[in-house]
Assembly symmetry: C2
């Protein structure tokens, strides 16, 4: 099924409002979701729409949430997301961070009592138009085993850093702290292909090339071994121990058919976002000249294969976004069926 | 040669002061260097003392530097290190960050015109006794090739995050953004052992198991492929594009026998440090209770091998530090010879 950006935005909006979400929030949530598809991160786009709705049906997500600042200093805040969608509360938190950065140079916001926030890049990239460097990270349902452990203790806990440039496109790194994101496993499962060693381990902690290992009780493995474990753990701590959300194995699962554990130590899942004014460190124009120079120099790095470019982080997603915004793009059949089911359920056209 | 902490501190101090470094700076630089040996990061400890001295002899490091804040906001500052040692200016910058965090919740400092700062952990861990989360990172001499490139464009650009706990030891992740730190290659070279694929590539960009590949013109490979390239690049940008230091392939080499490139875009090497008060987000006591709970739960994660513990980041270094501080430790013969040469040169006893 070939779809356009506008079509998907409209459909998501209609689904969210059909569930009672206020128009502004529904618009924003739709924009965040569809931005993932446009950037080519299909696992975090409309493929998840039905999952968010099921969380609402299970009364685990509040679509009429009223997030509030519950703690703050001139450069920080903690937000209680009121069990809303991260899709909505993370942009709200970024606005708070940006306003604090305007006042005192930087702003940092920890969020508790939230749900999945979509792609990290959307939120961090909000800082770019303000000539700020944006940061966003989140914890997530436990799928990753720490080094030497066979138990799932961490989510794929992504980190995004977005840096503005002058004439060049911004630098945007948005990466899971596991070797492979769950989306890549799903593709291998669908195509019935084996996966590289290092992505997953079996239920008893042995490395495996079977893409179905996670379903059989195994775990994802952290990026590059113990370093990825440390990074993912740091994301968990900043997102949840700092905010008062659940952490580690207690992070509530995204899928509605699994219940949260009993005796939770916090509320919902946690995020952490930040914004730093570049002109809190040096004049904006100087920064942009050197950022452009940085980007140009890295693009000109000697290639291993003359036919294969050295890319700047964010460049593949930016190209995909340009192309998909103009030409539309194809939805995977499972995702299309999922959306058609939603259309039927809420009596909508897709 | 078996040495004690006190012996090494005294010797480093005497070498630095013999080169005209003021007593306070010499004390601090010695403490930072020796802290690396105590933590078991031998590649960043007294093994580098002669390297710092050679940089001073080559007039590339100023041992009487007077670092200055050249730009600031309530939560940020940029420091010109006056070509001093990072060993001294990074702790100075952390003090500035900590003072800003006291005032407005967080403090972030970019440093230019500096030299190698030793282990990242020393600086980030300064935040711990203030009940703050500490961050430190630095760029470094180019050794790492971006994905698809055969050229060395980035240093091993480490990131450190240090988080205070209550009764438990703090959480400290201190990691290079390459798959292997240079120190690990040196050990394999010394022992004439092959190394795992993924650590280095040849001069023409092919993966290799030869520990000598770097010396033959090859490059280190980024942690887990393109993600490590992105992380190392982000460290470079925060440390140098933000501060006005040199970045990418222009970062001046640590070794004094290689000259910096002509037409440098900045000054010296760059660092970036930060401090966040935990009670800028939630009451300190709550944070500590949950941080202790986080640590205890991760230590209890189901093990793959019942004999092999699941460790908290920073735990191995903490144990090493306790043991080495009490019992002393052995210096590698090359390092010992290096120190004996310095003793002779400056007419000192070791």
């Amino acid at each position: 099924m070939i779809v356009t950006k506008e079509q998907l935005l409209k459909f998501c909006f209609e689904v969210f409002t059909a569930c009672g979400m206020p128009n502004d929030d529904a618009n924003l949530a739709s924009e965040v979701l569809v931005s993932a598809d446009l950037r080519g991160i299909d696992s975090h786009g409309v493929a998840r729409l039905s999952g968010y709705i099921r969380l609402w049906e299970a009364k685990r997500a509040n679509l009429q949430a009223n997030p509030k600042i519950i703690y703050e200093t001139p450069s920080t805040a903690t937000i209680d997301a009121d069990a809303g969608l991260g899709l909505v509360v993370a942009p709200y938190a970024m606005k708070v961070a940006i306003e604090k950065a305007r006042q005192v140079g930087t702003g940092w916001v920890a969020i508790k009592n939230s749900n999945h926030f979509g792609i990290a890049a959307y939120h961090a990239m909000m800082a770019l138009e303000e000539d700020m460097i944006g940061f966003s990270m989140t914890n997530a349902s436990p799928l990753v085993a720490p080094t030497n452990a066979m138990e799932r203790m961490l989510g794929t806990n992504p980190i995004c850093i977005a840096v503005p440039a002058g004439k060049e496109q911004p630098f945007v790194i948005d990466m899971a702290t596991s070797n492979a994101a769950n989306g890549k496993l799903e593709i291998a499962q669908r195509e019935n292909k084996s996966i590289p060693l290092g992505w997953v381990q079996t239920e008893t902690g042995k490395e495996s090339t079977d893409a179905n290992e996670l379903k059989k009780g195994g775990a994802l493995m952290p990026l590059g071994g113990h370093k990825g474990y440390g990074l993912g753990a740091a994301v968990d701590i900043l997102s949840a121990v700092l905010s008062g959300a659940n952490y580690g194995p207690w992070v509530p699962p995204f899928v509605s058919f699994l219940n949260p554990l009993p005796n939770l130590p916090g509320q919902g899942i946690g995020h952490f976002v930040g914004a730093m004014r570049v002109d809190a460190f040096r004049p904006k124009e100087d920064f942009k000249i050197h950022m452009d120079n940085w980007i140009q120099r890295f693009k000109e790095a000697q290639r291993i294969d003359p036919e294969i470019e050295v890319l700047i982080p964010g460049e593949p997603e930016f190209r995909m976004q340009q192309e998909r915004s103009i030409n539309g793009f194809g939805l995977n059949q499972n995702v299309a069926n999922d959306l058609l089911d939603l259309a039927k359920k809420f009596n909508l056209n897709l």
